[in-house]
């Protein structure tokens, strides 16, 4: 379970990016964090991962996010970055996938088993020994998801997982996300993807929660979305 309790954050003396935010995400939930640019979605992710620290209480499975617990917290959360180039820093996909398990002291043998399982589950065996600088953007995004799954996290966090992907690769990523059993928190402007992958949506504006409810309800509320500089998902407009 992920808990945010009266969380606020501001960069130095600037206006608050996150303003007294409180919400809870239960185990196994799929939550879409949506909002206009600068609404604070990515900051929420950073706060949760302990990359920045603010006021208030954030906890994962009852463990508070603070300097002392960062190792435990980060082992529970897998984060897929928006720019896969920044995520894939080892020479090959295999080495990148081994990186986290080995750092978390999983034996090399078990780590290799994990890698093989994940690659098989995602149908990516052909990428195993490919060099990161030689694979396409779509493959890199899938490989980035695979590196996170090899950690066996309890929750997967994704920042714009479908950005800059062609329709085919976008669909592959969506299907992969749908198949994940972990708790999912996804930030995106791709509302169609959010509709396809999330049961719950939290709409953020100026660091505050504007709406929190079922994806079906919020993503069909044209007035609410437009008031917050968003539009209905394309699939609903064209119906």
């Amino acid at each position: 379970m992920i808990e945010f309790e009266n969380v606020s954050f501001a960069y130095e003396q600037g206006a608050p990016v996150i303003d007294n935010l409180s919400f809870t995400i239960g185990d196994g939930e799929s939550v879409g964090l949506i909002g206009a640019n600068g609404a604070g979605k990515s900051t929420i992710m950073k706060l949760l991962l302990g990359l920045v620290s603010g006021e208030g209480r954030i906890a994962v499975d009852g463990i508070e996010v603070n300097r002392d617990n960062l190792g435990k917290i980060r082992q529970k959360l897998g984060f897929v970055l928006q720019n896969s180039d920044n995520q894939m820093f080892m020479p090959t996909v295999f080495e990148d996938m081994m990186f986290a398990p080995l750092n978390y002291m999983v034996s090399r043998e078990d780590a290799e088993k994990r890698v093989d399982e994940v690659l098989e589950r995602l149908d990516l065996q052909y990428l195993k020994h490919k060099y990161n600088h030689k694979i396409s953007g779509g493959e890199k995004r899938m490989a980035a998801i695979a590196t996170v799954l090899a950690m066996e996290p309890e929750a997967v966090l994704m920042d714009e997982p479908t950005s800059a992907l062609d329709p085919y690769n976008r669909r592959v990523v969506i299907n992969t996300i749908r198949g994940l059993k972990q708790t999912k928190i996804i930030t995106s402007h791709d509302l169609d993807m959010i509709m396809d992958t999330c049961d719950r949506v939290i709409l953020i504006s100026k660091g505050r929660i504007v709406a929190d409810g079922s994806a079906e309800k919020i993503l069909r509320d044209k007035a609410l979305l437009e008031a917050n500089r968003m539009e209905l998902p394309l699939s609903l407009i064209h119906r």
Binding site: R74, M90, M151
Partner: protein
Amino acid sequence: MEKALSELGHMDELAVQESPVHGMNATAKLLSTVVYILIVMSFDKYDLSGLIPMVLWPVLMYQMSGIPVRTCFYKLRIVLPLVMAVGLFNPFFDREIMLHLGNIGVSGGVISMLTLMLKGVLCLMASFLLVATTPFDSICAALRSMHFPATLTTLLLLTYRYVGVMTEELAVMTDAYHLRAPGQKGIHVSAWGSFLGQLLLRSMDRAQELYASMLLRGYHQHFHYAKHIPFRGSDAIYMALSCLFFILIRFCNVSELIGRLFVR
């Protein structure tokens, strides 16, 4: 720029090939390289003939690793001229004739210049060989195993990684510049300041994200994830033989000995 990126990637590819040298323990290779460099640097500036046999070690290792020597010179083509430039002015300052080749007198300055150049080239060859036959993370792991400070090792690792990040950013920015400055060769001097500033800021942003990605996947300044080849008997023999060879060449002028066989 794309070529530079591809060459950086190629270094990683070289490091994971299979050969007797690639299969050696990283610490053994690192120590041998350090000893080699120290001994090369310890030669007197006029001891060109004594230094020449030191070429044998890198040449032999390149042969064993299957990496052509020309790959080293090609990859280091930007650095090599700088290394060669060291001592370029020696012939002007040190004009004392030290030996005669036929009727031509060779000054001390020329000999010291050639010695310095050879030293630089040999050190580069040895360093390149280490990086081309050992994944960089394994080199860092070897440094850590020798109790090299964790912060410095991380700094070394990240510098290696950020070269790629910076080159990528530079490629994107250069393309963006040229698309809006058609027909212009290079980047105009008036844009250098902002260009460099932007490059630094963008690289820092990306570097921070890259480091965050490492931290989020459990990186804690140890290299458990690096490919580890245990230190075996063969590594000890390799180190011992290498060091013995270096010491032999250092204290016994092999060129002179061979020369004496032919000249009285």
